[in-house]
C-alpha cells in the first residue's frame, strides 16, 4: 500500500511539474501574444474615429469556429482593442460553413438586415453584387479618417477577389489557397529514398512536382510502415466530407490539367485559355471534358492512398491526421503549418515542409481537343478556399463604423499579426507577410509566434511562390449562383470518390446540374457575369 502511495505521489509530482511546465509555457505564449498584439495595435494606422460612434453596436456574421477558432477568433480577439479605440462595439454571429449561404443570403434577400457586415467566403461575391446586397467601399480607401490598408501589397489574385468591375467591395483580410504540406523528416530519410527509388525507378521527389509524382509518393508512404510497426501510416490525408470544403481538393488537382496559356501574355484570357469553369461564349460547362476526368481519376487514386475515413473527414479531422503524425502529406489551406506549430495535439513541429501544389506534364488544349505536353510542368497557382473577407451590407445601420472596423483589421500591422498567429485562420497573401528580398516580413515575426524557423520559411515561401511566381492561376468562381454550382460539384465528386458512379458519370451529372442552374438564373446574364469575373473580353 505504501509503495502504491509513493508511486501515486511520484506520479502526481510528475503531473504537477509537467502541468506547471505546460502552464508556464502557455502563460509565456499568452504574454507574447498579448505584447505583440499591443505593439501591432500601437503601430497600426487608426485614421480618425468619429466620436459619435461611442456606444454604438453593429453585427458581424462569420464562420462558426469560436473565440479561438479560425476567422471568428480574430474578431473576438481584437474586440477590446476596438472598443478602446472607438468606444463602439460589435456582436459576432457565428454560422456553420454549410449554412452560410442559406442564412446570409436569406437575410440579405429578405431585407431583414440582421447582419451589418459579413466576414464571409468570396464565392458569394457574385450573388452579393448581382443582387445589390452590399455596398462598394471605394470611398473609404483613400479617406484619411479611415485606417489605411496597403492595397499594393496584396497578391494580384487576392486583390481581384476583393473587387468587382471597377469597384472595391471587400476589405483585405484572409488569403486562402491550397499548398502541399509534407513530412521533411520522411522525405530526407535515406531509407525511404532508396525504397522509393527501387519501387518507382526515379528519385523520391522532394517536393513532388506533378500530381502523378504526388500520387506515387502517397501510394508509397501508404504502403510502408514509416510510423513504426502497427501504427497508422497513411500516404495522405484529405478532407472529403460532403457539405464541407472537399471540392477544393478536386479543383487544385484539376487546375494544371485544365488551365493553359495562349502564349505571349500568359495571363490573357481567351475562349480556350485561362478558362476553367465554362466556355465564356455560351456558359457551356467544361467540367465533363477529358482534363477534369483525368483529375477526378487522380483524386480517386489519391483517396485510396489514405484512410477510407477521409470521405467523412472535414478540415479538422484531415488536419488532425497529419498533425498527429499519421499521414505523410496533406494538401490544404494555409492553416496547417500554423497549427502544426501551436496545436496541443501536433507531434510534427519542426518537421513540416511545404511547397505550392504540384503541376502536370500535360495540359488539355480546348481548341484542338488534344493533350499538349507541357515544358517541364504546367504550374497553376490557386486561391482555393473562401479567402474570408469583410463586406458591408446595404442594410447596415452605420456603414461608416463598419467600414472603419474592417479597414482597421486590413491594415498591414493587424493583418500581418493575424497571419503570424495560427489560431486566427488568416493566411499569408501580402508582401508584408513574405520575406526579403520579395517582401518585408522577418522570420522572427513567425518564430516569435512559436514557429520552428525552417517550417516558417518553407510555409511562407510556398505561398509567396504560388501567389507571385506561378505563371498561371486557377480562375475563382464567384458569379451569381456560385454556391449552387459548388454544391453540385461537391456532391457528385463525393459520389465518384465513394464508388457510387464513375468519374465521367459524376462529371456529366455536374455539367447537367450546372446547365439547369445557368438556365434558371438566365444564361445571357450569367455569360455577362462570368466574362466580367474572369476578365474575358473576346478572342
Amino acid at each position: 500500500m505504501a509503495k502504491r502511495c509513493s508511486t501515486y505521489a511520484v506520479l502526481a509530482g510528475f503531473l504537477l511539474v509537467g502541468t506547471a511546465g505546460v502552464s508556464q509555457a502557455a502563460a509565456s505564449m499568452d504574454e507574447l501574444e498579448k505584447s505583440t498584439a499591443d505593439k501591432a495595435f500601437a503601430a497600426a494606422a487608426k485614421g480618425k474615429p468619429n466620436p459619435a460612434w461611442k456606444g454604438q453596436t453593429f453585427t458581424i456574421a462569420t464562420l462558426a469556429a469560436g473565440p479561438r477558432g479560425a476567422i471568428s477568433g480574430p474578431l473576438y480577439f481584437w474586440k477590446p482593442y476596438f472598443e478602446k479605440l472607438t468606444g463602439a462595439t460589435y456582436r459576432v454571429v457565428e454560422i456553420a460553413f454549410g449554412d452560410m449561404q442559406a442564412k446570409i443570403e436569406t437575410d440579405f434577400a429578405s431585407g431583414a438586415g440582421q447582419y451589418d457586415a459579413v466576414v464571409g467566403g468570396q464565392f458569394m461575391m457574385g450573388d452579393y453584387v448581382a443582387n445589390d446586397w452590399i455596398i462598394p467601399i471605394d470611398k473609404y480607401l483613400n479617406d484619411p479618417s479611415y485606417p489605411k490598408m496597403d492595397l499594393d501589397s496584396i497578391a494580384p489574385a487576392y486583390k481581384a477577389l476583393d473587387r468587382w468591375g471597377d469597384h472595391w467591395y471587400a476589405f483585405n483580410n484572409d488569403h486562402d489557397g491550397m499548398i502541399l504540406y509534407y513530412r521533411r523528416d520522411l522525405f530526407n530519410d535515406k531509407k525511404w529514398q532508396d525504397q522509393f527509388q527501387a519501387k518507382y525507378k526515379y528519385a523520391l521527389p522532394n517536393p513532388p512536382k506533378t500530381w502523378q509524382q504526388l500520387l506515387d509518393v502517397a501510394s508509397f508512404f501508404n504502403s510502408v510502415e514509416w510510423n513504426g510497426p502497427g501504427k497508422e501510416h497513411q500516404g495522405i490525408s484529405l478532407h472529403l466530407k460532403v457539405g464541407e470544403q472537399g471540392f477544393f481538393d478536386f479543383l487544385s488537382i484539376a487546375a494544371p490539367y485544365v488551365v493553359s496559356t495562349p502564349g505571349g501574355n500568359p495571363k490573357k484570357v481567351t475562349r480556350f485559355h485561362n478558362v476553367f469553369w465554362f466556355d465564356p461564349t455560351d456558359m457551356k460547362p467544361l467540367v465533363n471534358t477529358a482534363p477534369f476526368v483525368k483529375a477526378l481519376e487522380t483524386e480517386i487514386a489519391l483517396y485510396k492512398a489514405g484512410s477510407s475515413a477521409q470521405l467523412s473527414w472535414a478540415l479538422g479531422e484531415a488536419w488532425n491526421a497529419f498533425l498527429g503524425g499519421q499521414a505523410a502529406m496533406c494538401y490544404s489551406f494555409g492553416d496547417v503549418t500554423p497549427l502544426a506549430e501551436s496545436a496541443a495535439n501536433s507531434v510534427i513541429k519542426g518537421k513540416v515542409a511545404a511547397s505550392p501544389t504540384p503541376g502536370s506534364t500535360e495540359v488539355w488544349d480546348f481548341q484542338s481537343k488534344k493533350w499538349v505536353k507541357a515544358s517541364g510542368a504546367n504550374l497553376v497557382g490557386n486561391v482555393d478556399g473562401a479567402s474570408w473577407s469583410g463586406v458591408i451590407s446595404r442594410k447596415a445601420k452605420n456603414p461608416d463604423l463598419v467600414a472603419y472596423f474592417l479597414a482597421w483589421q486590413g491594415t498591414p500591422e493587424i493583418n500581418h499579426w493575424n497571419t503570424t498567429w495560427g489560431f486566427t485562420g488568416i493566411n499569408p497573401g501580402t508582401k508584408y507577410d513574405f520575406f526579403a528580398p520579395f517582401g518585408t516580413a522577418k522570420v522572427e515575426d513567425y518564430v516569435n509566434a512559436g514557429y520552428d524557423r525552417q517550417d516558417a520559411i518553407d510555409y511562407v515561401n510556398a505561398y509567396q511562390k504560388q501567389d507571385f511566381e506561378y505563371p498561371l492561376q486557377l480562375p475563382y468562381l464567384r458569379i451569381p449562383g456560385t454556391p449552387a454550382y459548388l454544391e453540385s460539384l461537391d456532391v457528385h465528386i463525393s459520389e465518384a470518390l465513394s464508388g457510387h458512379v464513375s468519374a465521367q458519370e459524376a462529371l456529366n451529372r455536374i455539367a447537367s446540374d450546372w446547365d439547369e442552374i445557368t438556365d434558371r438564373l438566365g444564361r445571357d446574364k450569367q455569360v455577362k457575369f462570368y466574362r466580367e469575373a474572369i476578365g474575358y473580353t473576346g478572342g
Binding site: 454549410g98 470521405l311 457528385h492 442552374i517
Partner: protein, 305 residues
Amino acid sequence: MSTTLEARGSEGDGAGGTSRRRSYHLHAWSFTAPGVVWVFAFTIFPLAHTLYLSLQSTGLGGNRFVGLRNFVRLWRDYRFWSALRLTLTFVAVSVVVTVVVGTVLALAVNRGVRGTRVFRTLSILPMFAAPIALGYLGLTIFYQQGGPINNVLAAVGLRPVPWLSDGRWALVSILAVDVWQWTPFVFLVVLAALQNVPAELLEAARIETSSSWPVLTRITFPLIRGPLGTVIILRIVEAFKVFDIPFTLTNGGPGLATRSLTYDVYTTGLRNQNFGYAASIAVVMLVLVMVVAIVFYRSYGSTYE
C-alpha cells in the same frame, strides 16, 4: 349549428331578439376567431404559398411563373429519386424497428421485472435530447478511427466499420441514432396502454389458457390497438421529416447516400436559393405523407370510431 341558431333566434321577438342574436354571433366569432386566424396564418397561408411557389422558377431578379415545369423536372431528377428512395427506406426501417423494440420493452417492463422504474427513467432520456445534439453525439460514437464502437470491435478482433464514409453504413448510422431517440417514445405510450388493460380480463384469459401467446394476440393487442396505431402514424410522419440527424452526422453524404427529402428541400431552397423547385419537392412530400396517412386510417380507422 345554423338550425339551432335560427331556432333560438325565433324564440325572441322584435329588437330584443335581434340584439340577442347579434350578441350570440359575436360571442361565437370571438371564440372561434383565434382558431380560424391561427389555422389560416400557420396552415392555410403557408400551404397556399408553397403551392404558389412550386409553380415559379427563382432566377436573378425574382420569380417567374413556369406552370408545372418543376413537377415535370422531378420525374427525371435523380436527386429527387435518390432522396425519395432513402426516405422511404428510412421510414420503413425506423418505424418497424422502433415500434417492435419499444413494444417488446414495454411488454417486458409491464410484467413487473425488478428495476423497471430505473430502466424506464433511463430509457426515456434520449427522447428529451435535441436531435441535432444526438447527431453530433453520433459523430463521436461512429467516428471511424478511434471511435468507441470501432474501438470495441477492434478489441474483439473485428475490422473497423466505415460508419460514416460508406453509403450503406452511413444509412445504418443515422437509423441507429433515430431508433435510439424514438424507441423510448413508443415504449412509454405502449407501456401506458398496457397498464390500462383490465387485470381481471387478463386473469380470466389466463385461466382459459396456459400459453401467453393467445392472451397477447387475442386480448392485449386488440385492447392497445388504438394507442399503438397513434404511435405508428406519429412515427411515420416524424420519420418522413428526418433532417437533423443526417444534417449533423453525415451532411447527407457520402455523395447523396443519406440525403432525405427534407434535406433536399433545405439544400435546394435555402442553400441553392431555388425556392420554386424546393417547394415542388415539398408539395410532393406532403402528398406522399397524406396518402400514407389516408391508407393507414382507412385500414385502422375503425379503432378510433
